[in-house]
């Protein structure tokens, strides 16, 4: 449980730092002229869609990490106190 909490907290703080770094860098790359698209596509995903998706995804990823962490905490508390109260009985 402790390792999992550390992992989720670590992942959460990584994502927040990631969002800030990415936002800053995205503003810089507007002035770049080289094109390297790393993906092969039959659909045109449009550059704006890619960029906004990365930003929204980063924020949404934080929320998912919080949700996972919270549900793990609830499970641990439930299990811990339930086990204890059964043990006492």
């Amino acid at each position: 449980m402790r390792k999992l909490s550390v992992f989720c907290l670590g992942s959460l703080s990584f994502n927040i730092r990631g969002i800030c770094t990415r936002a800053r860098n995205l503003l810089r790359v507007v002035f770049q002229t080289t094109v390297v698209l790393a993906f092969s596509l039959y659909l045109d995903p449009a550059l704006g869609s890619m960029i906004i998706q990365i930003l929204i995804g980063a924020l949404a990823g934080v929320l998912v990490a919080i949700k996972i962490l919270w549900s793990r905490i609830k499970m641990w508390v439930k299990h811990h106190f339930l086990t204890r109260s059964i043990g006492q009985k």
């Binding site: 992942s11 994502n15 990415r22 860098n25 995205l26 790359v29 507007v30 770049q32 002229t33 080289t34 094109v35 390297v36 698209l37 790393a38 993906f39 596509l41 039959y42 659909l43 995903p45 449009a46 550059l47 704006g48 869609s49 890619m50 960029i51 906004i52 998706q53 990365i54 929204i56 995804g57 980063a58 924020l59 949404a60 990823g61 934080v62 929320l63 998912v64 990490a65």
Partner: protein, 458 residues
């Protein structure tokens, strides 16, 4: 012969064999992804839960053997429909299915490479993905390539239908790759900016598209973690689920409360229609002007594949929600304006079929419809008969409503009666060019007559 709408995806295409059966050629470029789809367990899982169409691999010669990997025969869809013909909940359920499939695909190490609304069809009363070529191996770090398409094909039209006007899904007829986000953003009311999900996926997304439209960027260092992608999909799911539309106060969905059928007349009409259906034993039925599907269900409850068309989105919504609630598998309600039905559209006007191209139906029902076409829409009886003849293979069940009926009197109340030719005699004469009257019966306690007509060739 290649299917005219199947040409954009380099992974493969649909074609009809000499036997008339629909096949799909998988090209060599898709071989690896296909094997991953089949061996990972994703295909079995999706087919088992009814989310993906099943197929069998066959030993048939395709039109392009030089690039062929495999040929498969997909399970046929009985009636092809399009997103601009769906009611609100049908489009919403199709959107949620797409996202559900994407989440499931990621669990198996795959991802959808497109999220077109035209990849979803309705079969057995539920949405199903028909494009087996939609899957590719998931590469960690790669953003979802189908995100833009999902927003344009699903989220934008749903938001417009929910927040602005239910009829705005018709924009999908004009814009074959979904509603442009700048257009959706400009049409949506200001209040949509206050909803975080609509603000980010539609308004902000539209601005980003406009900002970066003519720019080039090195995206190689920008990755999207698995968790971020999961978050994005869940965010889209939440956005779609929150969109609602309540059909209330519409003149057609309240129709049965305000008709001139007494209880006895209504029951008698149902008995006559049921008798006609039992007599002809149709393979399939198209019910035109079906409203909420009361008479359509006389056919579908008999296990007859029935498509129930109506012009009112509220009536179709009610009919679809009922079919979903009851788990009905033989009825498909659709929104169609018969005076302006779905035309053939897309490249060379051949990518999406017109209504006539998807027919003819074995049996057509046109109940309490003729007077609306002839009186309210000024259509001559001869032209109506010709149209019904073009979409009907064997039988027509049609109701003639005379001018003395209170519904017709209501239609004529605010206009000059220029319909001297709208008589029962003229009706029988004009329809006689395309049909022979097999049976007819007056509806008890009303002035209406039901006809069973057999399609003839003259």
């Amino acid at each position: 012969m290649a299917v005219s709408s199947s040409f954009r995806d380099p992974s493969g295409f649909l074609f009809r064999g000499d036997d008339g059966i629909l096949y799909r050629q998988l090209n060599q470029s898709y071989g690896e992804d296909y094997e991953c789809l089949m061996s990972s367990g994703l295909y079995d899982s999706l087919v088992k839960e009814g989310s993906l169409i099943s197929h069998v691999e066959v030993d048939v010669k395709g039109p392009k053997p030089e690039i062929m990997y495999k040929i498969v025969r997909p399970e046929p869809i009985r009636f092809i429909s399009y997103p601009y013909e769906w009611c609100f909940s049908q489009l919403k359920d199709a959107a949620l299915l797409t996202l559900k499939i994407q989440k499931k695909a990621m669990e198996f190490g795959m991802s959808l490479k497109d999220s077109s609304a035209f990849n979803i069809q309705y079969a057995n009363g539920k949405p199903i993905l028909i494009d087996t070529l939609s899957f590719e191996k998931y590469v960690e770090g790669k953003p979802w390539v189908a995100y833009r398409q999902f927003c344009q094909h699903f989220l934008a039209p749903l938001a417009l239908m929910s927040r602005k006007d239910i009829r705005l899904n018709q924009l999908l007829r004009i814009y074959i790759d979904g509603v442009p986000l700048d257009l959706a953003s400009s049409l949506l009311p200001f209040g949509s900016h206050l909803a975080v999900s609509l603000f980010s996926h539609l308004h902000l997304h539209a601005k980003a598209q406009k900002t970066y439209a003519d720019k080039t960027v090195d995206m190689s260092s920008y990755k999207m973690s698995h968790l971020s992608l999961v978050g994005l999909i869940e965010s889209l799911e939440g956005a779609v689920k929150k969109l609602e539309w309540q059909p209330k106060g519409r003149e057609w969905s309240e129709y049965y409360k305000s008709t001139n059928y007494g209880v006895a007349s209504f029951q008698h009409k149902k008995q006559i229609v049921a008798k006609f259906l039992d007599h002809v034993g149709p393979v399939d039925v198209w019910d035109l002007g079906a409203n909420i599907g009361v008479f359509s269900r006389l056919a579908s409850d008999r296990g007859i594949e029935t498509v129930a068309f109506d012009v009112d989105p509220a009536a179709v919504e009610k009919s679809y929600l009922e079919s979903r609630r009851k788990g009905e598998t033989h009825i498909l309600p659709l929104v169609i304006d018969l005076t302006n039905p779905s035309p053939p559209i897309g490249w060379e006007n051949k990518e999406r079929m017109s209504i006539e191209e998807r027919g003819p139906a074995d049996t057509v029902m046109a109940l309490a419809l003729l007077h609306h076409l002839a009186i309210a829409n000024n259509l001559p009886l001869g032209r109506i008969a010709r149209f019904l003849g073009s979409i009907c293979r064997r039988w027509l069940i049609v109701e003639f409503v005379p001018k003395t009926d209170s519904q017709v009197e209501r239609l004529l109340a605010s206009r000059e009666d220029i319909f001297s030719e709208y008589t029962q005699m003229k009706f029988e004469e004009e329809f006689g060019h395309y049909f022979a009257i097999d049976d007819s019966e007056n509806i008890r306690d009303s002035q209406r007559t039901l006809y069973l007509m057999r399609r003839i060739q003259k």
